[in-house]
Symmetry: C2
Subunit: 140 residues, 2 copies
DNA sequence: TTGCTTGCAAAGTTTTTGCAGGCGC
DNA sequence: GCGCCTGCAAAAACTTTGCAAGCAA
C-alpha cells in the first residue's frame, strides 16, 4: 500500500480529490477496471467529473509506476495497481479478469537471455478460458 | 501451411484476390503486422484497396481459425497465422514482436484447474524487454 | 498569487457498419 | 444471374488534446 498523497507530491504533482479517489478505487477492487468503469464508479461521488481526468490520472500513475496497463484483447485498456508479477485469468464468457497467485512462477529471465539474447524487463501472462463461476452456472 | 482457397470454400466464403493476398502476406512475414501495416503493404498490388477489407478479412480468418489476434499494449491489434502456442518477445525500444520457440513450454492446464477451477482454452505470454538488435546497437 | 488541474468540447485513432456497384461461382 | 465482396464514406468506440476557469500550495 502506497501513500498516494506523499507519492504525488514527491513527483511534483498536486494532490486532488479526484486523483485520491481514483487511487482508492483501484486499491479497493480486483476487477481491473477500464477508464470507463472507473469513470462510472466515481460519477456519484464527482457528478461533474470527466473521462479525460481519468485518462490524465492514469498517465500520471503510469509515470509514477503505481499503475500497470493490461489489455486482454478488448477494445479498451484495463488498469491495476502495480504488484509483483502474476498471470491473469481472463474468462472468455463473462469477460472477468482475475489475478492468479504465482508462487510456483518460473523465472524466464535466464532462458530468454541465453536463447534469444533478450533482456527481460516485465512480462504479461494471460490465460483465456472459463472461470469457476461461469462453469458452475453453465446451462447443461 | 494451409490451402487458403480450399479453406475459404469449405466455410462458404468466396475466394478473392484480396483475401488470398492478405493470407500470403501473413504467411510470408514474421513481423506480426497490424491492419494498417497489411493495408500499406498491399496497396501497391491493390491500389484501390480499402482498410475495411483488411478488417473484414481478419474477421473471416479469425472465424476460420487461421489467424490469432495479439495485443502487446499498443493502440492497434496485430495479427499472425495461428500456430502452436509460443510466447512473444516484445522489444520496448523498437516495438518489434518476435516469436519465441517454446519447446520447454510448461503445461499450465492442470495447475489452473486445480488451483482456480479455471478451464484453460488458450494462453498468451508476452515478454517485454530489449531485443538482441537493440541491445547490440545501443549507444554506450 | 502562481501555475498545475479540471471539465468540457473538439479532434485524433482505430475499428465497425451500411450501401451501391462489382465479381466469384 | 444470384448473392457475397469490395471500396467508399459515415459512424462508432476509445483516447488525446486545447483551453478557460478553478483550486492546491
Amino acid at each position: 500500500m502506497v501513500d498516494i498523497t506523499f507519492l504525488l507530491r514527491k513527483y511534483g504533482y498536486k494532490v486532488t480529490p479526484q486523483r485520491v479517489a481514483i487511487y482508492e478505487m483501484l486499491a479497493s477492487t480486483r476487477v481491473h477496471p477500464s477508464a470507463e468503469m472507473l469513470f462510472q464508479t466515481l460519477l456519484p461521488q464527482f457528478p461533474a467529473m470527466s473521462l479525460a481526468t481519468v485518462y490524465k490520472t492514469m498517465d500520471i500513475f503510469k509515470t509514477v509506476g503505481i499503475v500497470t496497463v493490461i489489455n486482454v484483447g478488448e477494445e479498451s485498456f484495463r488498469y491495476e495497481l502495480t504488484t509483483d508479477h502474476h498471470p491473469h485469468l481472463v474468462c472468455i464468457r463473462c469477460r472477468s479478469v482475475e489475478d492468479a497467485i504465482w508462487s510456483e512462477g518460473v523465472d524466464y529471465k535466464p532462458w530468454l537471455l541465453r536463447q534469444f539474447d533478450f533482456i527481460l524487463h516485465t512480462q504479461q501472462l494471460f490465460f483465456y478460458g472459463i472461470c469457476k463461476i461461469c462453469n458452475d452456472t453453465e446451462v447443461r
